[in-house]
Amino acid sequence: MQAETGSSAVGGHGGADRPATDRPATDRSAAGAEGAAKDRDKDRDKDVLLSVRGLQKIYSSEHGDVEAVRNLTFDLRRGELACLVGPSGSGKTTLLKCISGLMAPTSGEVLLGGRRVTGPPKDMAVVFQEYGRSLFPWMTVRENVELPLKNAKLPRNERKRLADEALAAVDLPHADKKYPWQLSGGMQQRVAIARAVAYQPKILLMDEPFAAVDAQTRADLEDLIRDVWHRMGVTVLFVTHDIDESVYLGERVIILSSSPTVVQEDLRIDLPDERDQLTTRGLPRFTELRGHVYEEIQRAKREAGTRV
């Protein structure tokens, strides 16, 4: 069904709102791609931490190939908090798996700090949506948070200090001896965030981390992320399907089209840096931006309808 998607004008739409320099050189041959990429790396802005270039992912199955991601290109600067938003089934999770090195892209590349990602990079942490299945239930909260540090051979007291700090940062200083399943969903996701924070990554990837928690907890966790981001100066790529969330959280919202996915729009969120659930969401500019993202998503869905 989707495999039959023809050569419609999706790519053209994707390019419409983007600066020309950010576009991948679509005419470069596969053979020359490596060399060309290397040359570009040298004189690329030092500020760029994550760079996704012409990423494509095709899943092969018995029922034919499915192109989940067609051609994605964007950069993330150091210390940026960007949200990726797109209609459901727009390949957000696929994209995140390619960025995190858990899955190899069909073509294109991901660069982290100028180096090509071929497997899970050391200075990256991922927070998954399924917190209950991401934490190890046979370990206490502290053991979970310390495990990646232990694996990285950090000394015991250093591990303890980092875990203490991280658990305090997510407001769970007294739950360290409990098991994850003894905590509520929101608290479990806090533990997963603490584990990521304690790992001291340069970049934090979050795959719809709050999709499975209730609305109130969600608001708290959103503020927690902003707080952690401010304090740690970490780069955050936050994937969500929630339009409000993307506008509230991000400095920037990258809107994806429907599958096969391209970047439909790269939107700067010019809201004040100090955000508050009540006042920020009440700002006319917030409503405006939200409305804009909403329309873009609707457009993405409509175009998906015409393409299938």
Partner: protein, 257 residues
Amino acid sequence: MRLVKNLGYALGLPVLLILLWWGYTLVSSNFYVPEPGEFVTTFADVWFGERFFDDVLPSIGRLLAGLVLSILLGVVAGLVIGSVRWLRSLLEPVLEFFRAIPPPVLVPVLMLLIGVNDQMKVVVIVLGSVWPVLLNTIEGVRSVDPVMTETARSYGIDGWSRFVHLVIPAAGPQMMAGIRQALSIGLILMVISEMFASSSGLGFTIVQFQRSFAIPEMWSGIAVLGLIGVVLSFVFQRVERKVLAWYRGLKEVENAG
């Protein structure tokens, strides 16, 4: 108070059964059913003496050796086979074939190959008990949650570390289920291994009693087997409760929610 209640639950039915048995022997006399009193004296006479050291302990020793080997072999091979996809596809049909062979039929063959000795008996026990441990471990390793696997990968937890912190604990519940089955199979095969060309052991002794129509003695031997089974399962439960405490807690929470 709670102790008394628990003890009541544990002993209530056995006491009732013994009473029924006693009542039966009062109203009718059957050559094959000894009276409880006679049974107890026979039990003490037969088993509290030389037989305990000559027959019971060696049998238990072989049983434990067989079980320990089965668990080690099953868990180690299961971890390897479960982790390597091509190896699993290659071996699974063969494993199913060998598992389907009832080990008692192999006893005569093994007697020829290994001889009539302790090793042969231990091998018979292993040939039966290893399968549930092995197959359950393979299944446990295969069904490790993909999200947990990806989490481990994203934090660079691989190799030995992955086995220790992820694969073994995640497969733990399945492994323990396999070991539980192995215990009862092991006990059965311990008896069977002693029934052919043997001159000592619990199985041998019980068969001897049967053939000489020493009925109370025979029953007392069967009771010893039952008691060994009870002790094994008690010890197993203790260990499981400790090792899989997290699993019980997790299931309780899931069932409540």
